[in-house]
Symmetry: D3
Subunit: 275 residues, 6 copies
C-alpha cells in the first residue's frame, strides 16, 4: 500500500464524518499558520508524511521544511512551517504529529545505535518487529537515522530460522531447498546458535548467518571461523550499552528490534496562529 494511502487511512480514522469541534467553531474561510517545534532533541524523519496530512485536507496549503530527512535537531528548533486553511490545520494536527513523533523516535534511536558503532564495519539493521501498517515509513526512518534495512518482508530475503531448519531436515537440507526454490536474486541467511552450526551453514553455502544470542567471546570466535566466507549478523541482547562491544567483535550486521518496536516518541508540538 502506497504511503499516501496510509496517511489517507489515518486521517479517515480520526476524522470520519467530520471534526465537529472545528466545523462548529472555526470559519471555513479562516487561514492560519502552524509551526512544528521540537520540544526535545532528535533526528528528523517523516516531515513529508506530516506534510501529506495537511495536503490531503488542503491541497493548496504551503508546507516549508526547515530541516532535511536525517538532520539532527535541538530542543526549540523549528522543523517546518505550514500555512493554509485554519480548519485543515486544526483537523490534521494530531494525525501529523502522531506520524512525525513516532518516525523521529525511530530515527533518533537508530542514530544513537549507529553512533555507538562508529569506526567498526558493523551495520545497524532493523527487523520485521514493526508496527502493523507502518513498516515502510519506519524502515525509512531507520535509514534517516543512519541504519540499514534488513529484508523488508517475507518476500525479499530468505531467513531460515530454527523452525524452518527443524521442519526442513537440518541446515544443509534447508539451504539446499531454499537455493533450489528461491529466486537467484536473493541471498540465503541461516539462524545459528552454535559454532558447529555456523560451520555447517558455511559448508552448505549460506550467504549470511544470523548469530542468535551469542556472547561476545563466541561472536569473536564466529568471526574468526567465518573468515569472510559468510556475512555475520549478531542478534539478541543488543541494547545501547552492549552494542559497541558487539560491533567490536567484527560482525558485519547487528539487528535491533527496538528501533521499530520500542523507540520513544520525540516530543514535537504544532503551534497554530491565525493569519
Amino acid at each position: 500500500m502506497d504511503w499516501r494511502e496510509v496517511v489517507a487511512q489515518a486521517l479517515a480514522e480520526d476524522i470520519g464524518p467530520g471534526d465537529i469541534t472545528t466545523e462548529t467553531t472555526v470559519p471555513a474561510s479562516l487561514r492560519a499558520c502552524g509551526v512544528f517545534l521540537a520540544k526535545a532533541a532528535g533526528v528528523l524523519s517523516g516531515l513529508d508524511v506530516a506534510a501529506e496530512c495537511f495536503r490531503q485536507l488542503d491541497p493548496a496549503c504551503d508546507f516549508q521544511a526547515r530541516l532535511a530527512e536525517g538532520d539532527e535537531f535541538a530542543p526549540g528548533t523549528t522543523l517546518a512551517v505550514v500555512t493554509g486553511s485554519a480548519r485543515a490545520l486544526l483537523t490534521a494536527e494530531r494525525t501529523a504529529l502522531n506520524f512525525l513523533q513516532r518516525l523521529c523516535g525511530t530515527a533518533t534511536l537508530t542514530r544513537a545505535y549507529v553512533d555507538r558503532v562508529a569506526g567498526t564495519k558493523a551495520r545497524i539493521v532493523d527487523t520485521r518487529k514493526t508496527t502493523p501498517g507502518l513498516r515502510r515509513l519506519q524502515k525509512t526512518a531507520v535509514r534517516a537515522g543512519g541504519g540499514h534495512n534488513h529484508r523488508f518482508a517475507l518476500y525479499d530475503g530468505v531467513l531460515l530460522k530454527d523452525n524452518h531448519l527443524a521442519l526442513a531436515g537440518g541446515v544443509a537440507a534447508a539451504v539446499a531447498a531454499a537455493r533450489a526454490g528461491a529466486p537467484h536474486t536473493l541471498r540465503v541467511e541461516v539462524e545459528v546458535t552454535t559454532l558447529p552450526q555456523l560451520q555447517e551453514a558455511i559448508a552448505a553455502g549460506a550467504d549470511v548467518a544470523l548469530l542468535d544470542n551469542m556472547d561476545l567471546a563466541t561472536l569473536r570466535q564466529a568471526v574468526q571461523l567465518a573468515a569472510g566466507r559468510i556475512l555475520l549478523e549478531a542478534s539478541g541482547g543488543v541494547n545501547l550499552d552492549t552494542v559497541s562491544a558487539i560491533a567490536a567483535t567484527g560482525v558485519d550486521l547487528i539487528s535491533v528490534g527496538a528501533l521499530t518496536h520500542s523507540a520513544p516518541a520525540v516530543d514535537i508540538s504544532l503551534e497554530i496562529e491565525p493569519l
Copy 2:
C-alpha cells in the same frame, strides 16, 4: 475500517507475493502447533487479533485462548495454543506477535495507572495520541487494562482547545457555537489553563473542562470551584509517579497519552512444534 481488515493489511504488508523461506523449505501438508508464551508479566489484550492472523491464512486452524481479555499473567504463562498448517503458523507468527505484544503493552501500562488511582473516583482515560491505523485496537486494550476511553476521534466528542477558543472568540462564544452546531448527543468539553477560565467555562454551560497542566494545588481549587457543576479532566504531567496525587485532588478524569504512544511492548514468544 474493520479490525479484520487491519489484520489483512498487516499480513499483506509482510507476505506480499509470498513467504519465500517457508514455501521453499516447509511442505504444504505439514501441520504444527504453536504456543504463545509470556516472557514477562502483563495484562492480556489482543488475543483475538492474533487468532485472526492465523485464521486468515488457515481458516481451519484451531486457536485456544487460555486467558481472557484483561487477565493478568506472570512470566512463563501460556496465553494461547494454535494448531494448524505449519506454513500458516510460520508465516503469520511475526504479524501476530507484532499486534499482541503492543496491545498487551497498552493494557499492561493502563492497568498500572488504574491500580494507582484505586479508591478515588478518577477514571484513567486515553487520548488521540494513538498509532495511525491501530486506534480501535489500542482503545480496546485500554479498556482491557481497566481504563476508559476518551472520545474515539474528532467526530464523537467536542473538545474546544486553545486554538479553537482563540479563533472562535473566547470560551463563551466557542461553547455557544459548539452547542448550536453539534448534535445534542455530544457533550461539550473546554480546555482551560486557569481558574478564571474554568469559571468562564462553567458559566458558559460546558459539560467538561480539560484542566491543562495545572499543579496539584490548582487542581484542588478547581475541584472546589466546580463543585460538581462540570466534569473535570486533568491532563499534562501525568506519569506513574504523579497520577495518585492527581487523582487524590478529586478530578473526575485523568488522560494519559503514554498509554497509546509510549507503552513498552510485552515480551511474548510463539514456540512452534511440528505435529
Copy 3:
C-alpha cells in the same frame, strides 16, 4: 467513506466501461455549457456534489454556483452553470441530477418543518433513517434546510431504546451501564413512553429523554415534569400538520424521519448547449 468517493462510486455505477451513446456520437474535442435550472421551488443543497461529478470526468471544467448552500430558490432560477467537455457534461448529467434533486429535496422539506416551529425553542433534528451510503450528504442537507443533526451513527451518541432497556434490566441499570462504559464525551439519551419512565430517566441521571409517540397533553406534562433537568426529544407522529403544536409544548428537539426517508426530489434540469 469520503463523499468524493461516494461520487466516484455513483459515476462508476452509471458509466462502467463507457457511455456508448456519447462516445459514438459526440466528438471528444467538443465543448459545451450546462445550466442547472430549477423547475420547482426549493432550498439548495448539494451543488458541490454535483460539481464534483463533472470534475471527476473533466478536471478542467468550470463550475459556477449562482446560489449558496441553504438558499431558497423559485422555479426558473439558474442554480449553477458548468462549462467543459461536452462528453463529460452528457455523461455526468444524470448522476449529478440524481444527487442534487434528492439533496435539495431533503433541504426543502427540512426548511418547511423549521419554518413551522419558528418562535419556539424546538430544534428539528434528523434520524438514522437515511439512504444507505448517503448519510453524510443527507445530514448536510438537513443543516442546509435549517435543521440540526441527531447523532450521526451508532458511535457518536448513546440512545437507549426499549430493547436495550429490557435487555439491560431497566432504565436505571441501562443508564448506569452506559455511563460506565461510554466515553464521557457522549450524552446518554433514553427512550421513554410514559411519564413515570421519564421520572426514572431523570432520577438515573440521563441527559436526554426521547419521548416516544406521546400525545400533546403528555408532552406538556413531560416538559413540566422535566423542568429543565433533562433535554426532551419528541418523536413519532410528527408531520407538517402536527409539528407546530408539538413544538409549542416546549420540547427541546423534534426528530423527523421523513427528512431523509421521504423527502420528494426537487425537479431540476440541466440544459446543455454546445459552445
Copy 4:
C-alpha cells in the same frame, strides 16, 4: 460493486468504530429473535438484503423468510424472522430496515403501475433516476413489482437524446454513428418529440423511439405511424392517473422515473425479543 459490498458499506457507515449503546448495555452472549412486521400493505423486495445485514454481523444467525420476492402482503404480516446474537440484531436493525423499507417501496409502487396497465401490451420500465449506489437493488425491486428494466446504465443501451442529436448532426447522422460505433448486441433508441422526428427515426433504422412528453392523441398517431416497425416508449407526464390511458394508446413501453426516485417507503418494523 457487488450488492454484498453495498451492504458492508452501509453497515460501516452506521457502525464505524462501534455501537456504543449496545456494547455497553447488552451482554455479548445474549441471543434474541427479531420479527419483521409489515405495518402497511405492500409488495416484498429486498429480504435477502436485510438478511445479509445480519449475516455480516453474525454469520451464524438464522434468517427465515416467510414470503418470497414479489409477494404482496397486508398490514400485520410477518415477513421474516431472524434469530441470533442480540447485539447483532440491535446493531443491524436500522440498516436492514433502511434497505427493506425503500426496496419494498419501489416494488409496491411498480406493482400499482403494472396493475393499471394490465390487459395492454405495455411494459412498465424504470429509468436511470435511481439513488446513487443502489441502482442494482432498485432495479431488482422494479422486477419484483412486475415491471421491466430499461438499460441498467450508460453502457448497456444506446439512447440518443436531444443533446446527442444536436451535437451529432441530427437523427440520421446520430443513428448511423451509433450503429457504426456501438456493439451489434445493443439496440439503438432515439428520443423524438414530434411525429416527423419519429418518421425520421424509423427511416434511419432506429430500433426504439422514446416519445418525449407526447399527448394521448399524438401517441396514438405515433403507434399508427410506426406500424410495428419500431418499438415505442412513452415517457413524461406518467403517473398513476394517466398511465392506463397511455398504455391504451398501444405503446410498447412506459418509463416511470418515480419508481426509483419517489416511491414512498413501506412501513416495516423489527420486533426484537430476548431468547
Copy 5:
C-alpha cells in the same frame, strides 16, 4: 474498474515497497528523457496507458505522443517521448512497455484481419476471450485496429449458447424468455450450428445468429436463408488464411478470439538518456 486504477495496480505489482536498484543508484533530482522506439512494424494502441504509468510516478512529467491511436508505424519509428524524473522513467519503464507492447499487438493483428475483409460488409469483432483485468484496454485496441467490439461482457448483450438453449427448452423458448426478461435495449443473439436451427431462430424473432463452425457452403446458404431478416455472425475456424473467404459469404460479423488471446506483442523499446 477505471483504467487508471488498472495502471495503478500494475505499478503497485511491480514497485511494491520500492525500486531498490533505482533508489540506491540514481539521484532523486536527476532528470531524463525516454524515447519509445518501434523495433517492428505495427498499429498503435495504448500510448495513453503508457503515459499514465509515468504520470502516476511523476505528475509533472511531459509525455509527447508522436503518433495517434490507430496509426500504423514502421520499424524505427519514434512513437513518443517522455521527459521527467529519471527515477520515475526507470521505475515505470517495464510496466509501460508491458501494456504498450500487448495493446499494439492486438491493434496490429486486428488491422491484419480488417484489411483482409476490405470490400465486404463484414465487421471483424472481438470476443470475451480477453486477458483477465485488461478487457477494456484490449477492446479499445481492437477498435484502434479497425475492428468492432462484440458485447463488452455478460451484461450488455444476450447471447444464447448451446447450453442456454438446452437448459431453457430450445431456441423458441430461450428467445422468448430472454425477450421477456432482458431490457429492451439489448438485442437477442442465438448460437446455431445448423440451418434448421437458424430457421428456428429467425422464426423466434432473434436479432442475431451466431453461426458456429459452419463451412463456407453452409455460411452461404445461411446468408441466403436469412435474407436480411437477422444479422449473421460467423464464428470458429477463423484465421488470417480463411477470413477473406468467410467474409465473402456475405455474413455481417466475424468474431475472432485470437485478437485478444493470441496477438503477439509488438517489439517496442524505451531508450532513456539523462538530461
Copy 6:
C-alpha cells in the same frame, strides 16, 4: 494483491450487474456438471484459479481436480470436473477458461524450454515481462513448467541495467551504491555487454552478471572468465532453437521473456451438462 482478489476482479469485469442471458433463461435452482477437457497437449497450471472462479459464485460447488499442478496432459484428457449451480457454471465459464488457458500456456512453454536444457546446469528463469495484474499467477505457472523465478518485482532483487550504470557512474560505482543502500538479503546483479565489463563486475563484487545478447563464443569465454566467481545469466536471442546451445556454454541461468509475454494459450473447453 491476493490472487483471490484477482479472480474477484476478473469476475466483476465480466459479470458487472448481471449475466442477462443466464438469469433470464436458466432457472436458479438448476444444477449442472462441467468437465474441463483438454483439446491439445500441455502442462497443467491454474486449476486452483479456475476452481476459485466457480467458488466465488457458488461457495457450495464441488471441484475435483484430476491432475496436479505441473502434470503433462494429452489432448482429450479430463483435467477437472465441477458440479454446482448451473447458473454459476455458465456465468463463470469464460473467466475460468481465460485464466486456465493462459496459465497452462505459460507452463507448457516453460516445460519445452526446460526439456531442451536438460542435462545442463542452466536454470530457465522468467522476467518482469508479464501481463499487468497477473504476475504472481504467471510466475507460479513458470514453476509448474519446471522453470525458476527471477526476481518477482523491483523490490526483491537488484538488477543494474545499462541506464543505472550510466546514471550511477559506471559498474564499480553502481555496485558499491547498491551494496551500500540495499538490504544485505539481496544479491546484486549487473547487466554487461562485453567481457571487460564482466571483468569489471567481478572486480566490483557483483553476485550475478546478466550477459546481454552475447553470441555463443562470447558466452563460453564469459563462463571461463567468471570461473565460478559470479553467477551468469544469459539473456536475449533465446528461443526454442537456440536455448540448448546457450545452456551448453555453461551459464547458470537463461532468462526467457516469451514465457510470460508470448506463450500461446492451450485450448481447453468446459463441457456443461445439466444434472
